[in-house]
């Protein structure tokens, strides 16, 4: 039985199709973590001295989720672009530095299946700064040149400072601590 196609061009065309499908499958695996929506839960019971308005609550939820989505993209694909907007000040500098160092070392990190339990612990009297505690759970994969060298489910506690910008809340400080 002859398994070869009738013409070489059709054979190579078929191979190309298979390669594209394989590439898409591989890509979908690679993007699986990045595509998983970041889940954020916000507790305002401890916030004070200023009361948190409902619009502020929605803004914090929206912008914190966006910030972690952006950070995950930046650290997975080693590009600083997603960091423009959601981060400012020292948090942005740290992340930009991490991306630059990863580009140099050939490492990357993937933050998958993120779940954040946020507790607002301070909201300034004039509403110009909010401090939050985030108990973050995620699947952390570290890759060296595309090869996964570490895969771990982690729970990390972060102290977060957010300030209102022109159209969003931005993260100014993101500092991991052993415990609150």
């Amino acid at each position: 039985m002859n398994l070869m196609p009738k013409s070489p061009s059709r054979f190579f065309s078929g191979l190309r199709g298979i390669a594209i499908v394989a590439l898409l499958i591989v890509s979908s695996f690679n993007l699986r973590g990045a595509d998983t929506p970041v889940q954020v839960q916000l507790d305002l019971k401890k916030a004070g001295p200023r009361a948190v308005e409902s619009l502020t609550e929605k803004g914090i939820l929206r912008d914190y989720r966006l910030a972690w989505t952006s950070m995950a993209q930046a650290l997975e694909f080693n590009t600083p672009d997603p960091l423009e907007g959601p981060f400012a000040g020292e948090a942005k500098q740290q992340l930009l530095q991490t991306v630059a160092r990863q580009q140099h070392s050939g490492l990357s990190q993937r933050y998958g299946d993120q779940y954040h339990r946020l507790v607002a612990v301070f909201y300034a009297p004039e509403g110009d700064v909010m401090e939050l505690h985030d108990t973050a759970e995620y699947q952390l994969q570290v890759s060296d040149g595309g090869k996964i060298i570490h895969d771990e489910h982690v729970v990390i506690h972060y102290v977060v400072l957010m300030t209102p910008g022109a159209d969003r809340w931005v993260i100014r400080q993101l500092q991991a601590v052993p415990q609150f």
Binding site: P49, G89, E90, Q93, Q94, Q97, T98, R101, Q102, H104, S105, G106, L107, Q109, V121, F122, A124, P125, E126, D128, V129, E131, H133, L140, V142, D144, I149, H150, E152, V154, I156, V159, L161, Q173, L174, Q175, A176, V177, P178
Partner: protein, 288 residues
């Protein structure tokens, strides 16, 4: 010290099975301080790859097992969680935390920049301490807040930071003028200025007389209830009622007095107001 056990890998080599006992152990610092170098001792034999991932750092280097891995101070300048990996035949990991160094700067937010006198809870301030690498200092520290107007102390309080934050809220003073607001922590201090201005006018009174072209009215010097001169630019509204007609003039205070010229030949009743404060009413007779 956290201890991580690395298991020996048995590899089949030509001529027989050889046990390559690579790394058995490496220890990450139990406590590390931002900007202070540290070391990670390893045990075992052979070569391995060492990785360090943390805030602002992504390191990869070849190491000899059995030797210490030196972590430079600039690689540990940010407080946070660090992941160390040692990979030979397999990878082992350990996590450690770097804590902030001692306070080196104060961020001090004060509101508002301009405040009426004698208002309760009108002035507030928030202080956050940071170390020289801009890590937030989360260890509780005592911050002193002081408010002074001229040489008079209006408010003084020591507040211990909670979650890295200390704050206050207090009333504004009784006199218009500059208010110095200072937050200090050991030898660090941050100074802000708040301008205290007169509050709403008090006892607003006007006087007027008929002139050749109408009625000239002006206020007496406008003060608030504490005697502070109401600032220039504050709007005073004069309303003249003449029979069934009514006219209004808004005039800004200049050097403590607001003036207006109202046209109309008949007898007029003139009232004055500024904000929510009403003044006296004046009756001016008709033009002779």
């Amino acid at each position: 010290m956290h201890r991580t056990v690395l298991i020996c890998a048995a590899l089949g080599l030509a001529g027989g099975s050889v046990s390559l006992c690579s790394a058995q152990d490496f220890r990450v610092p139990a406590s590390a301080v931002a900007g202070v170098e540290a070391s990670i001792p390893t045990t075992g034999r052979g070569k391995a790859t060492f990785y360090l991932l943390g805030p602002g750092v992504s390191l990869k280097s070849d190491v000899n097992l059995g030797e210490e891995v030196h972590l430079h101070s600039q690689d540990l300048r940010y407080a946070g969680s660090y992941l160390a990996l040692v990979c030979s035949s397999s990878c082992k990991n350990a996590r450690f935390y770097v804590t902030e160094a001692k306070p080196a700067s104060l961020t001090f937010l004060v509101h508002p920049s301009r405040v009426p006198v004698s208002q309760s809870d009108a002035v507030s301030g928030v202080a956050l301490a940071f170390d020289k690498f801009h890590n937030e200092v989360l260890t509780p520290v005592a911050v002193n807040f002081q408010l002074t107007a001229g040489t008079a102390s209006l408010f003084s309080r020591q507040v211990r930071t909670q979650d890295g934050v200390a704050w206050f809220r207090t009333a504004s003073g009784k006199s218009a003028g500059g208010l110095q607001v200072v937050a200090s922590l050991d030898d660090l201090s941050a100074r802000r200025a708040v301008q205290q201005v007169a509050s709403e006018p008090c006892n607003l009174r006007i006087e007027g007389q008929r002139t050749a072209i109408g009625i000239a009215v002006e206020t007496e010097p406008v003060h608030d209830c504490a005697g502070n001169v109401v600032p220039d630019g504050t709007i005073v509204t004069f309303t003249a009622t003449e029979g069934n007609s009514r006219s209004t003039v808004d005039a800004p205070i200049k050097k403590g007095i607001a003036r207006a010229q109202i046209s109309g030949p008949g007898e007029a009743s003139i009232s004055v107001a500024s904000g929510v404060v009403m003044g006296n009413e004046l009756r001016i007779g008709a033009k002779p």
